[in-house]
Amino acid sequence: MADNAGAPKPSSSVKLVLLGEAAVGKSSLVLRFVNDDFQENKEPTIGAWSHRPSNFTLTLISAAFLTQKCNLPTRTIKFEIWDTAGQERFASLAPMYYRNAQSALVVYDITKPSSLTKAKHWVAELQRQASPGIVIALVGNKLDLAGPANEESGVTDTEEEETQGDEENRRAISTQEAKAYAEEEGLLFYETSAKTGENVQTVFEAIANAIPESTLKPRGAGGLGGAGRGGAGEQAPVNVGDASRPKEGCAC
């Protein structure tokens, strides 16, 4: 994420929503992406009021999302990353969560088969609720818990080989299985480790590259969510932030 000084590149905001079963490492992935940091025993995003750590979840609220820039050769993408704040556990995500999302990260845990089932549920939910054309990335996290070099094993029953060979290998979902599903649904697919940082950057860059140029809005236009589908002429949101802001821009 080195911010190379240079000629200014076009810059756009992209709303990205995070989905996945509890404890698959959604927040850790974002934390790795945003801060290049990993917390071994991060509190779950939900229900943490009793021993509220000053962790990244708490930084979400003021604007309801985290932001991180992603520099591509030709442009800069600013991700507005919307965590679920635990609302997905009780199926209580509001329409505002999906609205105008241009990208989604659906995360599962490669050591936990149920988490892929849940991931498929969320993909279906996104296809139903979100804007058509949303870029969805399916991400198998906790790659550090898989045995070495098993990711590329062939068509043979990988699970068997893995369990035989290496006690450390806790992989329960083969790369092939998830990849086949992703291809069928037209999803980007990566396996990552938030712990080691492996592939984390790659996922976000792949998403940034996959978003069609035509759907990118210039930064700041339309504020949150844009309301950009507007009809006649110059219907646009107004700024109410500060009643006493300077008025020098006014035309009178």
Partner: protein
């Protein structure tokens, strides 16, 4: 997904409902680090202030099981179900409103997309405009007022600019206008300082009031009054005097002998009907009274609207006018994606981000704990429909008052139109940088204003463009409301009349062809569903399960949000009072905890 276990069985606050007030409380209490569980029996956020897709609206109306609640598709919508967001709470929020002030204080304004609610229109036939009523015509004073109006029309841009800048000092209400005084006094405006009410358009941008057939723009600025072709000289003077009376009655400290008398005149006539008061003090024709009354958005006709209510609304309107930098002709705002429904979603999410839990499709019943449990001191034992085997307790139970407390009746309709009525959404002033995304059209009572509809109370139509994100491009949504049951049958005709008058592609008599969907319900119908449905039962159970003392201490009930066109301005104050009762202080209400501040904010 319901198999998820709750992280706790003991909660500081269990909140039953996700409407505006309860969501605000959920957010505020979570941010104060209380453990908060917020539930709603319905599958949507917002309770009676919810926003729904097309199919969800159809289901919702069916669930009201009321013979008068109807949903009807007149043709097939061409867009996806999700492209529609119809709301039960299309409120408008004035610039000078406690809600906006509060949201600024807690740095929440950027969580919403704010759209301007622009021009205000009223239906008045030519015949109605000519009707003099008790107002006199002509006369010397009228001629002088016409002269003053001419001076305003020709008004010096330079002087206005100076006055404008001077008056932008923060927090100052726009002072009453010299031009207004000139109009009122029937003197040429030249001798007076310039106007600021309703941002002084420069003389080049001042335009005659627009009209489409009988649909006329409401005159509410000095220029409007000066330029209105529907006003005779004497009317200009009296309307100017009436507006000045409103402005002066607002000022708490008498700045002159006259402002004192305005305040006392208001106090003496607080309950006098608006029409009676105006006729006695500033005689105006019925059409002008109907026009000015339309800005109050009050459900009663001018002849039975108490003066103090009308003045309070007009004050808010006039003091908000001209404050929005991007569009000086607007006075109010609305939230995209469903008006106040958006408040519910953002605040509920705010509660979750601060550590609270939201569960939808979940009902709660007060129920004694199993004998094996330790005694629950004075906590309230509850059972959740989603977690029947895990009894919980709440230190505070927060819910809405029972439906029986909900006395005001109103009759609502929602229309989806296959036209966007572009003429209504054009900029009013050349200095406006953006155009309105919503407008209000009033059909005043027919006996005064001859709409031909036959209505005896005002019918209000709020027309929202696709810029709100609530419908697709090329469409618009109309929310209609009236206070009279017998007039609900007129709502559709009112919509057709507006379409026929405004839409260039619609011929007279063909307005109904543009209606894609129509839906009707009464406020009373809402008592039978969702969170209100179980309210009496929950109250009954509570009486069995906990003592009166505990109920007094631990059960908090908030008033249902007023089903008004304007956002219920008592909301923040009422929630603050509940917060104080629970947390023990009014300080820090809904303020982000220190660890939130400075993070996640927009950069630059």
């Amino acid at each position: 997904m319901d198999e998820f276990t709750l992280p706790s069985t003991e909660w500081d606050a269990v909140i039953v409902g996700t409407g505006v007030k309860l969501s605000l409380l959920a957010c505020a209490l979570s941010r104060a680090k209380l453990s908060v569980l917020q539930l709603d029996p319905s599958p949507h956020y917002g309770s009676n202030e919810t926003a729904l897709s097309l199919s969800e609206l159809e289901e919702h109306i069916a669930s009201l099981s009321s013979p008068t609640a109807q949903f009807k598709l007149h043709s097939t919508p061409v867009h996806r179900d999700r492209d529609y967001t119809f709301t039960l709470a299309p409120h408008l929020i004035y610039w000078n409103s406690p809600l906006l002030e509060f949201l600024r204080d807690v740095k929440m304004t950027t969580s919403f997309t704010w759209l301007p609610l622009g021009s205000w229109w009223v239906w008045l036939s030519d015949e109605a405009v000519k009707e003099r009523g008790t107002a006199k015509s002509g006369g010397l004073e009228g001629a002088m007022a016409n002269l003053a109006a001419g001076a305003v029309k020709a008004g010096g841009t330079v002087r206005k600019k100076a006055a404008w800048n001077k008056n932008r000092s923060k927090n100052s209400a726009p002072p009453v206008t010299g031009a207004l005084e000139a109009l009122a006094a029937g003197k040429p405006a030249d001798e007076q300082p310039a106007s600021t009410w309703g941002e002084p358009s420069t003389s080049t941008s001042a335009a005659t009031l627009r009209r489409h057939g009988d649909l006329r723009e409401v005159p509410c600025t000095v220029e409007d009054i000066a330029w209105s072709q529907d006003l005779e000289g004497q009317d200009r003077a009296n309307l100017g005097r009436f507006l000045r009376f409103i402005q002066q009655s607002a000022s708490p400290e008498p700045t002159s002998g006259e402002s004192n008398s305005s305040a006392s005149l208001l106090a003496q006539n607080a309950d006098t009907p608006l029409t009676t008061f105006i006729n006695a003090n500033f005689p105006l024709p019925p059409a002008t009274i109907a026009s000015i009354h339309s800005l109050t958005l009050l459900p009663t006709p001018p002849s039975s609207t108490p003066l103090h209510l009308a003045v309070s609304r007009l004050k808010t309107h006039l003091f908000s006018l001209g404050s929005i930098a991007e569009i000086r002709s607007a006075a109010a705002l609305t939230l995209s994606y469903g008006g106040s429904a958006e408040l519910c979603q953002v605040w509920s999410r705010g509660a979750a981000v601060a550590g609270g839990i939201n569960i939808l499709s979940c009902d709660v019943t007060p129920e004694p704990l199993p004998a094996s449990s330790s005694d629950a001191d004075d906590r309230i034992p509850l059972k959740l429909s989603t977690h029947p085997s895990t009894p919980i307790t709440a230190k505070h139970l927060i819910m809405e008052l029972e439906p029986s407390s909900w006395s005001e009746e109103s009759y609502h309709a929602i229309y989806l139109l296959s036209t966007q009525l572009p003429p209504l959404f054009q900029k009013k002033l050349s200095t406006d940088a953006v155009s309105p995304a919503a407008v209000v059209v009033t059909m005043p009572p027919d006996q005064d204003a001859k709409t031909g509809l036959g209505n005896s109370t005002p019918i209000y139509l709020q027309i929202r463009s696709s810029a709100t994100g609530e419908c697709a491009r090329g469409e618009c949504v109309i929310y209609a409301v009236t206070a009279e049951e017998k007039e609900r049958a007129l709502l559709k005709r009112a919509v057709e009349m507006v379409v026929e008058a405004v839409d260039p592609t619609t011929q007279t008599g063909k307005g109904s062809e543009k209606i894609v969907m129509s839906c009707e319900y009464a406020s009373g119908d809402l008592k039978r569903v969702g969170v209100m449905k179980g309210a009496e039962r929950r109250q009954g159970e509570l009486e069995k399960v906990v003592s009166e003392e505990v109920r007094e201490k631990r059960v908090v009930k908030v008033r249902p949000l007023k089903r008004d066109i304007v956002f219920d301005e008592g909301t923040v104050e009422e929630c603050r009072a509940v917060y104080e009762r629970i947390v023990g202080t009014r300080e820090g209400f809904c303020e982000p905890p220190p660890e939130f501040v400075g993070h996640g904010e927009e950069d630059e």
